[in-house]
């Protein structure tokens, strides 16, 4: 037999103490890194609240921008723009995303299923500015002008992988007994998917959608040369003037999306770089609005998941 016990007897107490110290040290180090990683989170949130709150007032939300020096300007154009772009993006992203997810959930091992998962992963890794370039080439260039439509397409492409992935995961979580029960009753595949699987997975799908929206609302890069920005964007005015001129619904809708559109992050970006302190002030306020929105959606999504677990 080996002399193991003799080998280690000599230095065991010292070694043991050293191992314990290293253990304690390293564990505290990981705690330290966690604190370190979270410092910026609180720093940013703190500053955004501190600098943004003074500018938040009613005017901010319901008025268009006013020239420097005049009071009462707001970012209504950006809020409306964000809503329009997000709506468009959702319309573009949800149908293919959800449908493809149905396919992926049912056929994870076919060539198409594997390629689909692969393609989604790749798509989610494409930088958002490159997607903006794509939307530019495919929509702005042929149409000859920047538009909210192009911006919606760009952001829609960004939302697609998120929606697909979360929908697929939710569909997979539905117990297969549910599906089999429906099929056993004689319901065809498509009816089972729509009437049984989809409602069962709906909550999770909505959560995924909310998270995708939170992400989409904060995107700037793809809008820089698609939606471009538009300080005078005013949906209310479009609608009232349209009604007054007896335009069709189609024309009014077209006027809403077929012109350059602004958005909250885009406005933040522009105002932050202007030499006027009022504009910089406003960009902090926009940042605050964005942060509140993102936080709310995240909390909502989180609560939804917890609520579902009960």
């Amino acid at each position: 037999m080996t002399r193991f016990k003799e080998l280690i007897a000599r230095n065991q107490t010292a070694l043991s103490a050293r191992r314990k110290t290293v253990n304690a040290l390293m564990l505290s180090l990981t705690m330290l890194t966690t604190v370190l990683a979270l410092i910026p989170l609180f720093w940013i949130i703190g500053y955004v609240i501190y600098k943004g709150t003074p500018s938040l007032n009613l005017d901010f939300f319901i008025h268009l921008p006013r020239p420097i020096g005049m009071d009462g300007g707001g970012v209504l154009h950006a809020i409306e723009g964000t809503i329009v772009i997000t709506l468009l993006a959702s319309v573009f992203a949800i149908p293919p995303g959800v449908l493809a997810a149905f396919y992926a959930a049912r056929n994870p091992n076919t060539t198409l299923g594997i390629a689909l998962r692969f393609g989604t992963d790749v798509l989610s890794g494409v930088p958002s500015i490159v997607i903006g370039l794509f939307a530019y080439a495919v929509i702005v260039k042929p149409m000859g002008h920047f538009s909210g439509l192009a911006g919606g397409v760009a952001v829609g492409i960004l939302m697609l992988p998120i929606i697909l992935r979360t929908t697929e995961e939710m569909l997979k979580l539905v117990p297969h007994t549910l599906r089999e029960g429906s099929l056993a009753l004689g319901a065809p595949e498509w009816k089972t998917s729509l009437s049984v699987l989809f409602p069962a997975a709906l909550n999770g799908i909505i959560t995924g959608f909310l998270l995708a929206v939170a992400r989409a609302a904060g995107e700037t890069a793809p809008l820089l040369f698609t939606a471009l920005g538009n300080e005078h964007y005013d949906i209310g005015q479009i609608i009232t003037s349209g009604v007054a001129q007896k335009q069709t619904l189609g024309t009014i809708l077209q006027r809403i999306v077929d012109q350059p559109v602004d958005s909250l992050p885009l406005t933040l970006w522009k105002y932050a770089q202007q030499p006027y302190p009022e504009r910089v002030q406003q960009s902090w306020a926009v940042a605050l609005v964005l942060m509140i929105f993102v936080l709310l959606v995240n909390i909502l999504a989180r609560l939804w998941v917890e609520f579902r677990k009960r």
């Binding site: 191992r19 290293v22 253990n23 390293m26 564990l27 990981t30 330290l32 890194t33 966690t34 370190l36 990683a37 979270l38 910026p40 989170l41 720093w43 940013i44 500053y47 955004v48 600098k51 149908p95 293919p96 995303g97 449908l99 493809a100 396919y103 198409l112 689909l116 393609g119 989604t120 992963d121 798509l123 890794g125 494409v126 930088p127 500015i129 490159v130 370039l133 794509f134 080439a137 697609l160 065809p188 595949e189 498509w190 939170a214 609302a217 904060g218 995107e219 700037t220 890069a221 820089l224 992050p265 933040l268 970006w269 932050a272 910089v280 940042a287 964005l290 942060m291 993102v294 995240n298």
Partner: protein
């Protein structure tokens, strides 16, 4: 049309499908499959578009577009376009970000996966996710007005004082240090903060996927928690952790707004970390909407192509690595 299907021979694929599914299933399947194809084609379409729309620029500049020549310049007025300053800026800031982010992310992931008390687990995970959810422009705004003056400028100055005069590496820390702090260093720091959540989340998932029998075997031999983590778990999950790092790198390469707001946007001759710089994403963001000539636009799109290819390759390698490590693990979940 359905009644014609009945007239088809029994082993025709259309009639087999019709019998196997039920009416309405064919349009449903068609819908699903076409959606799936759409998605996959999208990626191809992006690549093809980038390729085609940069054709003139590619033909005109060829390989010199990418090469790191010392007089590489980007001059829209004289139609002279070389992307090396941006490639350098992107690579430098991203790599520095990875170097700083890696140990921090590892520490956080280890803490979250193995050492964190149960009640703290969910809130901490959520906080880390929140870091990832902050929009890039907000990071940029905070960067310009708060982070740069308060942190980057003094650190930059300190680095300059410490290393600026040294031979060889002094080049990387050469000054003059911008008073505002807008520099490649600032971009690197902001990127660090932004990619920590990515690397942490994937690493944490890799560690959690390691079967607990490995932990138990090590502990039963008398290993301390740290010895178990560093000598058994991390080596076991190493390729997955590597995948996490590469994913983080991919994210850093493509990050646009925050970087643009803090990097200074200048085609700087000096390679120094402390000087302002430019990245591929930033130049596209700044110049595209007001491109001077068609060639300018094409050159910018070519920059986008380079960026696309880089992130594509990284993404593929990363996904492969993560897949390889999680596939190797037996199906027992963490107890």
């Amino acid at each position: 049309m359905l009644k014609y299907i009945k007239l088809l021979p029994k082993d025709h694929w259309l009639s087999r499908t019709r019998r196997a599914t039920g009416y309405g299933d064919i349009p449903w399947q068609a819908l699903l499959i076409s959606s799936s194809f759409l998605l996959m084609i999208l990626v191809l379409a992006i690549g093809v578009m980038l390729w085609n729309s940069s054709a003139d620029a590619r033909h005109q500049f060829g390989l010199s577009f990418l090469l790191p020549t010392s007089d590489a310049s980007w001059d829209p007025v004289n139609n002279q376009f070389q992307a090396w300053p941006f490639i350098y800026g992107t690579l430098l800031t991203s790599l520095v970000a990875i170097v700083i982010a890696l140990p921090i992310s590892l520490g956080v992931a280890v803490f979250l996966a193995d050492l964190c008390p149960e009640w703290l687990r969910l809130p901490l995970n959520w906080l880390v996710e929140l870091l990832a959810a902050i929009p890039s422009v907000v990071y940029g705004l905070w960067g310009i007005f708060v982070f740069l003056p308060a942190f980057v400028a003094p650190v930059g100055q300190g680095l300059f004082d410490a290393f600026g005069a040294l031979p060889v590496i002094g080049v990387m820390f050469a000054g003059p240090v911008p008073v505002s702090g807008a520099s490649r260093l600032g971009a690197a720091f902001i990127l660090t903060i932004m990619i920590i959540p990515t690397i942490t989340a994937v690493t944490r998932d890799v560690l959690l996927a390691i079967p607990s029998s490995q932990r138990e075997a090590a502990l039963a031999l008398g290993a301390t928690r740290w010895e178990t983590i560093s000598q058994i778990l991390v080596p076991y999950g190493l390729s997955g952790i590597l995948g996490a790092v590469i994913l983080g790198l991919g994210r850093a390469l493509g990050e646009t707004m925050a970087v643009t707001m803090v990097i200074g946007n200048s085609i700087e001759g000096s390679p120094s970390l402390l000087r302002p710089g430019y990245t591929m994403a930033s130049v596209i963001a700044n110049e595209f909407a007001e491109a001077v000539t068609p060639l300018h636009t094409q050159a910018l799109i070519e920059v986008g192509l380079v960026l696309f290819v880089m992130t594509l390759l990284l993404n593929l390698v990363a996904r492969f690595l993560v897949w390889r490590v999680t596939r190797r693990m037996p199906q027992e979940a963490r107890v």
